[in-house]
């Protein structure tokens, strides 16, 4: 295993940054590390690289205890969020200089530049590079010694769609042909869905989820899942709008699945249930449905999206008396809305 980090804890300046983070990456695997700003992604990377010593937990890289971080860093290529070039140097000289830390270049600079799509820009000062070109150069720097593990922090920031696609293809090739393990830290879920075989979601310094995308896709392929809390049981649970299936019921919560081929907007569906089928819906929780929903479900710092989800899920016509606030999500739920004022404790409020 390339990275085997378990239960990392780190406190900096009295603030607990990492509380329980675990990351596991195999050779040839592209691992997406997701999380909102300030979740601890970059700090996790810093711990993996030995820039911080964790207060607790274990880091093993290349199946070794991280005793000699300098030696291990020689096997890792890193593309930090901020490229940090000496802008007065030209790209070729910079790469040659940087490669000297690794004992020299493994391949000619021109080949390396060509690999990342900077074939004819080697002689130009880096200060003249666009953001996208600097990203490409940062990737070239990460590849300078043919690393076994690549750690990329927002690698496609500033790239146009074609550039993004080229970098995607390059990363897929590196993973497939050279068996390079890649830790991809990004906010772009499209990138993750296209590239990653496994993901880890961090929030509040804790790993909320580590799973393969294949497993997640299998779970969610059946459709979008919701939990509904009803004011009273439906008169006829069997009578449902097309594409809606009830899967479970318990303690006043009704679980339903919206079929993936259902093209009706959610608000129309809820209205249909509310008005057409006389379901008195008090709360709606989305509990799954794609990487974005899963991400929102697992992270707590994205209230705006949660509220948006709640608003989207809200039926267009509700009795005036039942207008209530959008509620904070409880663990494991994506969002909810209330049709009645909060008069008693609930998992939602």
């Amino acid at each position: 295993m390339l990275v085997n980090a378990n239960h990392l804890k780190l406190t900096l300046d009295g603030r607990s940054i990492l509380q329980d983070v675990s990351v596991h990456i195999e050779r040839g695997e592209i691992y997406g590390l997701l999380g909102p700003n300030g979740a601890g992604k970059s700090t996790t990377i810093a711990v993996l690289l030995g820039l911080y010593e964790p207060d607790a937990g274990e880091v093993r890289l290349f199946d070794q205890a991280r005793g000699h971080p300098v030696e291990l860093r020689g096997r890792i290529g890193v593309m930090p969020e901020r490229a940090g070039f000496y802008e007065w140097m030209n790209a070729s000289d910079y790469l040659a200089w940087y490669a000297s830390f690794y004992g020299g270049l493994q391949q000619p600079v021109a080949d390396l530049l060509h690999l990342v799509g900077l074939g004819d820009a080697g002689g130009r000062p880096i200060g003249q590079f666009s953001r996208g070109m600097q990203q490409r150069l940062a990737l070239a720097r990460a590849l300078v010694d043919g690393p076994e593990l690549l750690i990329l922090d927002e690698p496609t920031n500033g790239l146009d769609p074609r550039g993004r696609r080229e970098i995607h293809d390059l990363l897929l090739r590196l993973a497939a042909e050279r068996n390079v393990g890649i830790l991809l830290c990004t906010h772009l879920l499209d990138d993750v869905e296209r590239l990653c075989s496994r993901i880890g979601i961090i929030d509040g310094g804790r790993t909320r989820l580590e799973a393969s995308l294949q497993e997640l896709a299998a779970v969610h392929s059946a459709g979008r899942r919701f939990r509904l809390r009803l004011e009273r049981p439906p008169a006829d649970p069997a009578s449902l709008p097309a594409g809606v299936t009830l899967t479970n019921e318990g303690q006043g919560w009704w679980q339903c699945v919206i079929a993936p081929d259902n093209s009706r907007p959610l608000p129309i569906l809820w209205e249909d249930l509310l008005v057409g089928h006389d379901w008195e819906i008090a709360e709606i929780h989305a509990t799954g449905g794609g990487l974005e929903a899963l991400y929102l479900q697992m992270t707590t710092g994205s209230e705006s999206e949660l509220k948006e989800e709640a608003v989207l899920a809200r039926p267009p016509r509700l009795p005036a008396k039942s207008e209530g606030p959008c509620c904070r999500t409880s663990a494991g739920s994506v969002g909810c809305w209330r049709s009645a004022p909060c008069s008693r404790p609930s998992p939602c409020c």
């Binding site: 810093a46 690289l49 820039l51 911080y52 010593e53 300098v70 030696e71 860093r73 020689g74 890792i76 890193v78 930090p80 901020r82 490229a83 940090g84 070039f85 000496y86 940087y98 830390f101 690794y102 720097r141």
Partner: protein, 221 residues
Amino acid sequence: MLSAFALLLISNQELSLLDNAQVVYMLAGTVTAAGAVIAVILGADAFAGERERGTLVPLLIAPISSSALVNGKALGLVSAWGLMYLLSLPYLWAVGAGGQNLVQAILYLALFGTPVVLGFGYLAMALSARSGSVLTSLLTSLIVLLFTASPLLLGPGLRNSTIGKALDAVNPFSGALNTYDAVIIDSDPFLAQLPRFALVLTWLAVTFLAARRSARRPRFR
């Protein structure tokens, strides 16, 4: 600065009356002080400056040991001090030619000035690795430099007091200046300077270790 000072030493009515050896001593002290200021500026920029420009992280993620990083930065200090030293030679010759102990002045400037100057550079580097900005590390290092120079500003009366003597005994900067004084003006032998030589070497070793320790886990955000 050296030109202006040398011109002042030669042309100023009062300063030109100074003994030739006195003038060389003053210039040697000035070169050491200027070298220390330059070293502090470079040292303060070594880590904090790289961090502020965003170029520190690529260095830290490369397979470079903290010692190598500090040595690389120290190479810049040595180069700057070397250049300063070379530039000062014609001035020392200009104000000291024909007088006594010019050669000793040049040798002792290298022997005592180098550890003192590099020590201040290392100290600034140590602070730079841990502080939040270039400004913080620069100001802190300059305050330390001024503090070490303060006994000299107090005048001979206070320097001869118990406190003054105690400060002189642990102050590398006054150690170097007292050596210049003893060797250039009083023509004392090297053996008499050994305690002060030990002092400046200790200063260099302590500050180097502090810089290396700080560079092990520098503040990089």
